[in-house]
Symmetry: C2
Subunit: 251 residues, 2 copies
């Protein structure tokens, strides 16, 4: 492991919650400020950080550029975009796209609700596996042993009264999701927010991603949200077709 790389990345992450001075950063990683200066210089060269006025450093635009370039290069995201926009336009609710990678579920696209509500989500953010609809869909698509392994490695935290907090309960839920073809988050992550999610499939029928609708109870109650399931499934099917999926008759 590389000490200076580690320190440099820690600096970058520290800068993510706002510009900082040299001394603040030095204190953060507990080294002499001349050391910080030199690390920042390397980061600056690559446009990961930039000076903000005389005394402050902030994240650089190279970071945004990199992140978006990588995001844009993902085929799923590009292919699925029209379906997401369409669903967002038709329903007016928040639409998310998420994938499973490296044992985590990550939002890779988001379309804001037309109602002015803010959700506790963001592109790039990881979604908890056991209390979000997208994660349920994605984990339910894994082979059973993998599912079990994941379920048992989770540290279940009860966000709301409805949160699933045990591996068996989670596995049962996944089973149901797999059979039903869509997932529900019944205010299990945030109070008064319901989500439904469906899988997006590729050429071989494998699950590439999940798309979801998130609706605050104030805007529409649970029954209302469940009535949107057909729309969601239709959008997910359209997205799947874009990704090369062809409906196979169950033999």
């Amino acid at each position: 492991m590389s000490q200076s790389v580690d320190r440099a990345l820690t600096l970058v992450r520290a800068l993510a919650d706002g510009p900082k001075t040299l001394d603040q950063l030095a204190e953060r990683i507990d080294v002499h400020k001349s050391t910080v200066l030199r690390l920042l210089r390397s980061l600056e060269t690559h446009r990961f950080v930039q000076r903000d006025g005389v005394h402050y450093y902030r994240l650089g635009t190279g970071l945004f550029d990199l992140a978006h370039r990588a995001l844009e290069d993902r085929d799923v995201r590009r292919l699925v975009e029209p379906a997401l926009r369409e669903l967002n336009a038709a329903t007016g609710h928040t639409v998310h796209l998420a994938t499973f990678e490296g044992g985590e579920v990550v939002y890779i696209d988001k379309y804001e609700s037309r109602h002015n509500v803010r959700m506790y989500s963001r592109i790039g953010k990881r979604a908890p596996l056991y209390c979000t609809a997208v994660a349920k869909v994605l984990v339910a698509a894994l082979p059973e042993p993998e599912r079990r392994r994941l379920a048992e490695s989770i540290d279940y935290v009860g966000f709301t009264g409805a949160t699933i907090t045990s591996a068996p309960a989670y596995l049962a839920e996944l089973q149901q999701v797999a059979e039903r073809g869509y997932a529900l988050d019944n205010a299990e992550h945030e109070d008064f927010i319901h989500c439904i999610a469906a899988p997006i499939r590729g050429t071989g029928g494998e699950v590439l991603a999940a798309m979801s609708l998130s609706v605050p109870e104030l805007v529409l109650d649970l029954d209302g949200v469940l009535r949107l399931v057909p729309d969601l499934l239709a959008a997910a099917r359209a997205a799947s077709v874009e990704c090369g999926w062809t409906a196979q008759p169950p033999e």
Copy 2:
């Protein structure tokens, strides 16, 4: 300057154009693959990089997370969002938001056109100073000596027949933009694409950002685009008000 940080960041940037194997990366920065392995480990710890299958490394989700968090924390972006969405919805054309920082103009938000056209732009991407409407607006807002310094430091490249390719011509254009209150890119960057941009102002009347409309000629001709200027200015004014700007009567 820190050698290992430099190498690590070079790796990250290399991974931006797609997953790579250990050996490819080793070759890229010309070091022993064991060294690459160790650098990657540090990057992996911070979720900047992740393994993709057995033989490949790809960018990690920590990068997306970081980038979006920093982007979201920008007050301008958040405050201005409704005005951008509204303009996008009303016109159906591509809407950009850009700021000036560190001598560069960077797109920090984008709303896609309803017509299915792809633009050569992206959040995080730098906009050339001399042939984009947003950059003209932002540079025109700088004090004169700074404008001149910038104009003279530019390496003018003729993207299209209409591109401005000299400092004097650029400075004259900026002057006009400052007086007129909006900027025009008359197919100066991409052939057959016209853009108009207007400044977004803050409490003291200072220019915080620029918003623009981009329209392919196939969809609407130049005159048509110019007829959208009042809409653009209205949106920019609304955005400015959100940012604390209060119209001052010219004394």
